[in-house]
């Protein structure tokens, strides 16, 4: 199969709707197809990877730990739009420290989150072959 650039765009907060959970399920299945996969967190999508999610009070399953597994699935490009974080009074510190292990660099742990400006993210988007929005 050809290799295409797949981009998964997340713009909705988790739990209020199912899209965050079900889009993550697509990403995990998609990992098996050896495509060039990226994720983008824009607008309220940034809340999907916020630290400290605790869902007992609302009776839903906390699926945020699943994002930590993305590195093991070789999904290492998680773009977060700076402007979206700033508009929400958030910084990188408010997000889970998601990492991947680089086997070409003695398994050194490297951050998967790439904080980018709108202009930079626009260029990343424009370079994709397949964009799935949820």
């Amino acid at each position: 199969m050809a290799t295409k650039k797949f981009m998964f765009v997340n713009r909705k907060a988790p739990y209020g709707t199912v899209y965050a959970l079900e889009s993550l399920e697509v990403v995990l299945i998609g990992a098996a197809f050896e495509q060039d996969v990226s994720l983008a967190f824009v607008g309220d999508g940034v809340y999907q990877i916020a630290k400290g999610q605790s869902t007992d009070g609302i009776g839903m399953k906390n699926f945020s730990p699943t994002y930590k597994a993305l590195g093991d699935y070789e999904i290492t490009k998680l773009y977060v739009e700076k402007e979206s974080l700033e508009a929400r009074g958030l910084t990188l510190d408010d997000l889970m420290p998601l990492v991947w292990e680089d086997e070409d660099d003695d398994w050194a742990e490297k951050p998967s989150i790439r904080l980018v400006s709108s202009a930079e993210l626009a260029e990343v988007f424009d370079d994709q072959d397949v964009v799935l929005s949820f």
Binding site: V9, R11, V42, G43, E81, E83, S118, L121, A122, E123, F125, D126, D127, Q128, D129, V130, V131, S133, F134
Partner: protein
């Protein structure tokens, strides 16, 4: 590589149009569909935001969605082109990738 962006939500309801405008690269196109067609109307609180990007991005609106909502093509922002579903299909052939802003 150029992208056809579709926006299907009204700018009064959601930030889909403003996010798309912010993140659409130069040379791409935006097609307004469904409730997103309302973003094509001139003289609204959001018209300047869209008009401002039109020197870099071509903007289209799906005629049937305007008509359904009782909005006349005469009152859309200058420079926005009205297309039908076959025009929608043609736009997808002219651009390499489609990105939906829901």
């Amino acid at each position: 590589m150029s992208t056809l962006h579709t926006v299907n939500k009204s700018p009064f309801e959601r930030d889909s149009l403003s996010s798309c405008v912010r993140l659409a690269a130069k040379g791409s196109a935006i097609l307004l569909i469904e409730d997103g067609a309302l973003g094509a109307m001139a003289g609204t609180d959001h018209s300047d935001m869209l008009a401002g990007v039109m020197k870099d991005v071509s903007v289209y609106v799906l005629g049937p969605d305007l008509a359904a909502r009782g909005m006349s093509e005469d009152r859309i922002i200058d420079g926005i082109q009205v297309v039908d579903y076959s025009g929608f299909v043609e736009l997808t052939t002219k651009h390499d990738t489609c990105q939906s802003w829901l």
